[in-house]
């Protein structure tokens, strides 16, 4: 298969900057000091460090041992403890197992028995430990900015409560985020009983409101849904991103990857179709991807419905079913595939799509027999459902002066409320405002009272997870800054008494578990983190309306074009704007977590910023280039920000990522990126038309990691199709790879197909071969077929291995420190819909490691178990090793990045891993600390190490289970089985480095009906041809 892979537009066009990035191991100026240090200062620094070193060297400082006065039972110094808890996120809840060292939570993993995580996690979950130790969290209750105590607030609330009780709370309002929690729901009902006329609003900046509305439209009930991608063989994602931005992405990823794996090992492989405006991670995983503006999704769905369910009620009104610019054969093939897989198909619509689309999707899934199989529904229970209209009603009441007291229970409405509601001016008319928040954020800095909010690792609570499973939020540490949880504050408001959250939560659980033996049952729940069997019953919805007719009506009307509200024909011209939740910061709530800011976006590979994304074709027609500064005018508001050209975006679409541009996030997140909420209105929270981009005369530097460490077009990623794999004709050739000698698990074969070596020529080794036939021999496989490129491994590694954050400027210089990176390769026409392959690249642990040969001080050497180890203390920083590494996985600590780490953040560090200093090379260690711990544990237990005892951090976190790690001398180990797969190949095997980490080639499962040779005009099939509207106005850099 001859594909060309490319990593950026600069590469395709072979621009000088790409050549420069390619040819230099360390980008130009990588050895320079950060700006602001002159040569003179440098000499001063040198002098100071010498004299300090001299002084310190006289006698090492006396170190103290400070034991407990009375040791807590079961806490043994040096042995981490693990507790089950739950991280609530919107109406989802991630079941977790948190590692705690001497009472401080350090590492977060998924709870294997919890359906939302299945033992895995994602970047947000991993990074939430930083949220706990965030030095910018607020430290006390404040009144008009002045420090107060919680007792002061309790007193003040007592007076307010009395006043409001008089009129039933008519002038009292609560604004909350959505949640799903029995305790909170109970408190809310108590609060409503106390203040019957209370005004309650629930607002999520990024919400699934339109899906709820759609299901209400279709079934008349408030339903949640649970996708079972593991059961699906054909999946259609309509502007949806179930694999990344969806709150349930972990279980979706696992299910999807299971389906891919099954196919690669002989079973049925699922097939994913994605139709979308932006380039999402789900789109990147799709076997077939169609670029389509978000506003065209409804017509597309109508066209599909007309083919799939022509006899369904209301289908007649759909018309013949054509979508401008879309090859009807594409829809035909999709419909055929869905019909052929009744009961194992699945259609998912994205949260930003309007209710009518969701209703129609529900109808189609039911019609295709998928309901109850690949998608199941259950009643929403114990939940506050998001509703923009409730916020709008609240704001108008505030504007009218009807609200005396506003309580903001979490959330940050001043930052993320729709721009058209003008929440700020409304709040100014409320005499008493109270905000519960993690920091003095945009909202808390404008309210009368601020209450520091306890982190979920500090609070008691509960939640209903996916499927309605009851999960418990258990604290691992007392509130560091005296924060109060949502339960505490609602408890005070509802009960009028300041009671511990623990009591309140237990009160809720008493009727659930029963009074008899409550304590032991409760302890069991705490131990498990969930109550087994508490899932809500599945609902088989009956369709009350005619969703397809509704869809037709919606298309006929204008509401589809905006996602919710009305839109005039005039605004349909111009570009379409799509609002995306940030995959890491979500709606901005995680903006102060450095790991997430520095985590590259999976598709754009940008860090620390959120430029407007446009397709290369669109950019060309607008005269825009990467990093150009533009003004975006939309709906009477404007926003200035840079642009980034993303191949595969739908032409005529500009995507804005939400969650950036916070002004009060803290030292990490404030002033990073651009606030897209400034132009987002309540009527079109998802997408809208009528956007103009005007090029302004400046550029803005963006830090992307995409060109760093390129591999010069060699067969780095390998892929095949399922048909090819089955026919064995063009199996990615087994390559003489990782293992020499008699090590089992080595796939023997001839390196011909990707052939650096013709025939059976064996690579010639310059070195004396090691045998590695003693003890454990560690190895890893990464299944590119399962990998979804979500970057969870990167954050997990960062958390486990104390990897520092370096900042935007340093990333631009190629100094990012991530021990594992996820490479993203495009293939195909950049102006069309290029395909994407992801490839995580940690250290390969080569048996003949090129880095070791060139180190002048033996700072990187091999150990007896096949690990390429890095001895930090020996390293003198020549960086020869990194120069000689063909995989570019070594990271150099250019500065003392950890030096300025605030003390509190040091609590998040893993005590089992050295914190590296400046001037030292570092890289993936295969989590040697975990290997050692497992070996010692096995030794103490007097048994042999078993397969699965050692899990690397990346492996444990991977939602797709794409990584296997284990002993390659153990023939029964999973890693040996993986390496025996014919798809196994070593990266750059022709160099004869014998990497221990090998890859399993990716397999695509294209629909034969959509083969480009049968579909002669594949290219015109996608992309709009009627895009004249936005081409027409071109001139002077302004397009409308």
């Amino acid at each position: 298969m001859s594909r060309t892979y490319w990593r950026s537009l600069a590469q395709i066009e072979d621009r000088p900057e790409f050549r420069a990035a390619l040819e230099r191991e360390f980008s130009e100026g990588a050895s320079e000091l950060p700006e602001g240090v002159t040569r003179r200062e440098m000499i001063m620094l040198l002098g100071a460090s010498l004299s300090l070193a001299g002084l310190a060297g006289c006698r090492r400082p006396a170190e103290e041992i400070v034991p407990f006065v009375t040791a807590p039972e079961e806490m043994v110094p040096g042995i981490p403890r693990y507790y089950a808890t739950t991280m609530p996120f919107r109406r989802s809840a991630y079941g977790l197992i948190v590692e705690s060292h001497e009472g401080r939570p350090t590492k977060i993993e998924g709870n294997p028995s919890h359906p939302s995580t299945l033992g895995a996690s994602n970047s947000r979950v991993q990074a939430s430990v930083l949220g706990l130790y965030d030095p910018d969290r607020s430290q006390s209750v404040t009144l008009q900015g002045a420090g107060k105590s919680w007792a002061d607030f309790v007193t003040a609330w007592g007076q307010l409560a009395e006043a409001h009780a008089a009129d039933g709370g008519a002038s009292l309002a609560v604004l909350s985020e959505s949640f799903s929690s029995p305790t909170l729901a109970r408190l809310v009902s108590e609060l409503r009983a106390r203040y019957p006329r209370l005004q309650w609003a629930t607002y999520d900046a990024v919400s699934d409101e339109s899906r709820l509305a759609g299901l209400r439209l279709a079934t008349g009930r408030d339903l949640d849904l649970m996708l079972r991608l593991d059961r699906a063989s054909v999946v259609l994602a309509l502007d949806a991103d179930p694999l990344l931005t969806d709150p349930e992405m972990i279980r979706h990823a696992r299910g999807f990857a299971d389906g891919r794996r099954a196919g690669a090992s002989g079973g049925t492989m699922n097939r994913l179709y994605a139709v979308e405006g932006v380039y999402s991670l789900t789109g990147a995983m799709a076997d077939h991807r169609l670029r389509l503006e978000s506003r065209q999704i409804a017509p597309f769905l109508a066209a599909l419905a007309a083919r799939v369910a022509p006899s369904e009620a209301g289908a007649a009104s759909l018309g013949p079913g054509g979508v401008p610019g879309v090859d009807p054969r594409w829809i035909d093939a999709l419909a055929k595939d869905l019909l052929a897989n009744r009961g194992t198909g699945l259609i998912v619509a994205g949260e930003r799509q309007p209710a009518a689309v969701h209703a129609a999707v529900c109808a189609l899934n039911t019609y295709l027999g998928n309901t109850g199989k690949t998608v199941s529904y259950y009643e929403t229970k114990d939940a506050a459902l998001p509703s923009v209209s409730s916020l709008a009603a609240l704001v108008s009441a505030m504007q009218a002066g009807a609200i005396q007291t506003l309580v903001v229970l979490g959330g940050n409405p001043v930052f993320d409320a729709p721009a058209d509601l003008d929440f700020v001016s409304a709040m100014a008319k409320v005499p008493h405002s109270i905000a519960l928040g993690h920091a003095i954020d945009e909202t808390s800095s404008k309210t009368e009272w601020h209450i520091p909010r306890a982190h979920y690792l500090e609070s008691w609570g509960d939640a209903r997870a996916v499927g309605g499973l009851l999960s418990v939020v258990q604290p691992l540490i007392l509130p560091l800054f005296g924060g109060r949880s949502l339960v505490d504050v609602l408890g005070l408001m509802a009960g009028g008494q300041d009671r511990p959250g623990y009591d309140i939560v237990r009160e809720t659980w008493k009727p659930v578990l029963g009074e008899a033996e409550f304590d032991s049952k409760w302890n069991r729940v705490l131990h498990e983190g969930l109550l087994a069997g508490s899932e809500l019953p599945e609902v088989v919805p009956t369709l009350i309306a005619q969703p397809l007719a509704e869809l037709a009506r919606a298309i006929g009307g204008a509401s589809v074009a905006t996602g919710a509200g009305a839109s005039t024909a005039e605004s349909r011209s111009g570009l379409e704007v799509i609002f995306l939740p940030s995959p890491w910061l979500h709606d901005g709530r995680f903006a102060n977590e450095g790991w997430l800011q520095e985590l590259p976006d999976p598709i754009t590979k940008l860090t620390w910023d959120n430029p407007a994304l446009v397709s290369p074709t669109t950019a060309e027609s607008l005269g825009l280039a990467n990093q150009d500064w533009v003004r975006l005018d939309y709906g009477g508001r404007s926003l200035e920000l840079p642009v980034w050209l993303l191949p595969g975006m739908t032409d005529g679409v500009v995507a804005l990522t939400l969650g950036y541009g916070r002004s009060h996030a803290g030292r990490i997140g404030s002033g990073v990126g651009f606030d897209a909420f400034k132009v987002r209105s309540s009527t079109a929270p998802g997408f809208d038309s009528g956007v103009r981009l005007t090029k302004l005369a400046r550029t803005y530097p963006l830090s992307a990691t995409q060109n760093h460490g390129s591999m010069e077009g060699r067969p780095i990623v390998r892929e095949s199709t399922l048909a090819e794999l089955r026919s064995k004709a063009a199996v990615p050739a087994p390559v003489e790879g990782a293992h020499a000698g008699d090590v089992p698990g080595a796939s023997k074969g001839t390196p011909s197909a990707f052939g650096v070596f013709p025939g059976d020529a064996k690579p010639f080794s310059l070195w004396k071969e090691h045998t590695y036939d003693q003890g454990h021999q560690w190895g890893m496989t990464i299944d590119l077929n399962a990998c979804i490129g979500c970057n969870a491994c990167m954050t997990a590694c960062q958390s486990e291995n104390n990897v520092p954050v370096v900042g935007k400027d340093q990333v631009a210089r190629g100094r990012e420190m991530h021990w594992v990176r996820v490479d993203r390769y495009f293939s195909g026409e950049p102006s069309g819909s290029p395909e994407i392959v992801f490839q995580p690249v940690p250290c390969m642990h080569c048996e003949d490691a090129p880095c070791e040969q060139v180190c002048p001080v033996a700072a990187t050497v091999h150990d007896g178990e096949g690990l390429n180890v890095m001895v930090y203390n020996r390293c003198i920083g020549t960086r020869y090793c990194s120069n000689n590494c063909p995989y570019k996985v070594r990271r150099f600590n250019f500065f003392n990045f950890t030096k300025d780490t605030p003390d509190i953040l040091k609590l998040a560090m893993n005590p089992d891993v050295t914190v590296r200093a400046r001037g030292v090379m570092e890289k993936c260690t295969y989590c040697t600390q975990r290997i050692n711990r497992a070996k010692i544990d096995a030794k103490l237990a007097g048994r042999q190490l078993r397969d699965g005892d050692v899990k690397t951090a990346c492996q444990q976190a991977c939602p797709a289970s794409a990584i296997e790690f284990g002993d390659i001398r153990d023939p029964s180990s999973r890693v040996v089985k993986a390496k025996a797969d014919p798809r196994n190949y070593a990266l750059l095997a022709e160099l004869n480095t014998k990497p221990r980490t090998t890859y399993l080639a990716k397999v695509r499962n294209p629909n034969p009906d959509l083969d480009p040779s049968t579909l002669q005009q594949a290219q015109p099939a996608e992309g709009r041809t009627d895009a004249g509207a936005w081409h027409a106005g071109k001139g002077g850099g302004v397009v409308s």
Binding site: P67, D863, L940
Partner: protein, 215 residues
Amino acid sequence: MAQIFPPWWNKLPLVTAIAGALGPIVVIAGIWYYFSPWYTDVGYSPVQPVAYSHKLHVGELGLDCRYCHASVEISPVANVPPTKTCMNCHQTVKRDSERLAPIRASAESGRPMRWIRVHNLPDYAYFAHNVHVAAGIGCVTCHGRIDEMETVTQMTPLSMSWCLDCHRNPDPNRRPVSQVTNMRWTPPRNASTLAEELERERPVTPPTDCSGCHR
């Protein structure tokens, strides 16, 4: 007019010559020694906040090490006991001792004792007590005859080469696990048979790679 250069200046060339000859030798010798593994903290014996005598408690009263250092078998860290452990006995024994005043103060106030660490490995060396105990390495091997010490003193170099000496040939330092805390244990005459027996019972493979101790 007084002379600018007093007479002893005449010796200057000689002094300079001697200093010039000896200076480099001193510098080289200094670096040679202080930067080498021979320069260790053996003999380090800091003054502790309470002059706790291991000689009295272990040597004479016969307390087992694990009464206080309870986690040594299960944890990498052999804990220093909480104040409560001292008070277990000293709420009845020597209740009014002047020397125990800081302990009583700690127990009353809830403020922890601040002991000075004697055996201090660098932060990048990850030593685990538990696995060494399980392998039958006696406390004495590294800590010396604690039962004879009034003040705990570092007796062994705790340098990397010293660690490796044993890791390369652990047999001379192994003993039955039951005898690990025994300060007076001596190897039997047929030491080689014992080593074989121990190896059969619980084979050890002490790591000699960097990754064994550095992470």
